[in-house]
């Protein structure tokens, strides 16, 4: 098991057939981004059809997990029992995809977090078959 930053009481992800490949890759500590087979554009979160060209066929491509912080907030209220306070919720621009990932900056003083800072994904194992990407400042 990985390092743990958030409690077991966190909401668990709900999965549909269209998003299952993303969560399966996550369980293997692989960050993937859905790519439309027809027009080549990336999209996230995963969805049934491409909103640009309406192609129904797609692939999940591996991504190195690097990006920059688009926006964030430092949260001072525990909305879930046991969640560490303060903690950081961040939105990351994933390099080269034009997509954004909601995640948490971990292992950093919240005062160090800034829009534009580079980050890389690290994995937190929440359960035997459930892992989620967090982010560390680079």
């Amino acid at each position: 098991m990985s390092e743990r930053w958030f409690p077991d009481a966190m909401p668990v992800p709900a999965v549909s057939p269209d998003t299952m490949p993303w969560w399966q890759a996550a369980a293997e500590h692989r960050l993937v981004v859905q790519v439309c087979d027809t027009c080549g554009r990336h999209r996230h979160p995963p969805s049934p059809v491409c909103p640009h060209c309406h192609g129904w066929s797609s692939t999940f491509a591996d991504h190195p997990g690097t990006g920059t912080i688009y926006t964030f907030t430092v949260v001072h209220q525990a909305f879930v029992p046991g969640i560490p306070v303060p903690h950081v919720v961040a939105v990351v621009d994933l390099d080269g995809t034009g997509t954004r990932l909601v995640t948490n900056v971990v292992d950093a003083d919240p005062a160090e977090v800034r829009i534009g800072r580079a980050v890389e994904v690290v994995w937190e194992d929440m359960g035997p078959d459930l892992s989620v990407p967090r982010a560390r400042l680079r």
Partner: protein, 396 residues
Amino acid sequence: MTGACIVGVGETAYAKRGGLDTSEYHLALEAICAAVADAGMSLEEIDGLASFADDRNLPVFVAADLGLRELRHASMSWLPGGGGGCAAVGNAALAVEAGHAHAVVVYRSLCQGQFVRFGQGPGARRAPADRAPALRRSKGPLDTAAAFTMPFAMLSPPITYAMVMQRHMHRFGTTPEHLGNVAVRFRDHATRNPRAVLRTPMTLDDYFASRLVAEPFHLFDCCMENDGACAVVVTGAARAADGAKPAVEIAATAQGAPGAYGHGQYVNVYVDDELYTSGGGRPVARDLWARAGIGPDEVDVAMLYDHFSGMVLLQLEDYGFCGPGEGGPCFAETTLPINTHGGSLSEAYIHGLNHVVEGVRQLRGESTAPVPGAQTCLVTSAAGVPGSGMVLRVAR
């Protein structure tokens, strides 16, 4: 006048979440009856019901329990969260103007103490305590989308909109004082309003002393959670002319959003920077001004959806009172009276339907913070979600 009018408004007492003993449904009926009485009408004339925000107080029960003779219109605005308030009034106006109904009551009753807190849908479902966290099957697209936010602690609207404001501050130099100004001004209006839940005078120092929730939001940047209900009665121009009080015309309504806006439980992080740092209201404002035949300069008083202080600034931008990014200075300098009841921040959070009520009261001269001679009122329903807007006008 030719369009539908609001001829009656009513509300229950407003209290903090969990502060009222009666059921949410009981409050809905009370508010509807109060609005109909205010209109000088009888329940026999009501043949339509409209609401928004997945209101739990279903019209078939309301119709049965109020002894309505027939129900000829029942509509629910499908915009998320509080976005559908003005749209629900618009649905009622369309029904009346088409001759499908004689009088429609638009209502909203909310007792968050009796149910799951708003904004905490199935996506917030926690891991059962007796087993290890694991994936679960989705209950629909909202649940599927929430999988990419809730496990990452994007758990509640203050977090969602704090991130919007952080980006707005980064792009445009909006300051914490700009946010505080909104909280302080609306609280000042509330001090004159006996219905308001929060009436203690507040200075900017008091505002900054309140605890941080999600930066840059302090407690007083966030709307309350309340128990209460309110309602308005919509009917045609001819019936309105015979009403008990001066009729207020629904000059125009508009609803919607740019495409891809409003993804997830109020998430919006997947849209481009220009759209993300707005309130998403520009298409609604475009349609509203065109239909009303006016612009922001003709507005005498405005009721803007204040779930969060900063989102009020974005609505000033979206509706053209100032340019993109200028909402902070615009609010600080404007003489336009805004949220004269105290808003969701200080009167009560009934998902903005109480803003419609205050708009009507202003145009009748009944507000507790009156704007003398006000003829035209803008009301907005939500920023940060696909929403709606309305222009009210003194009926001539």
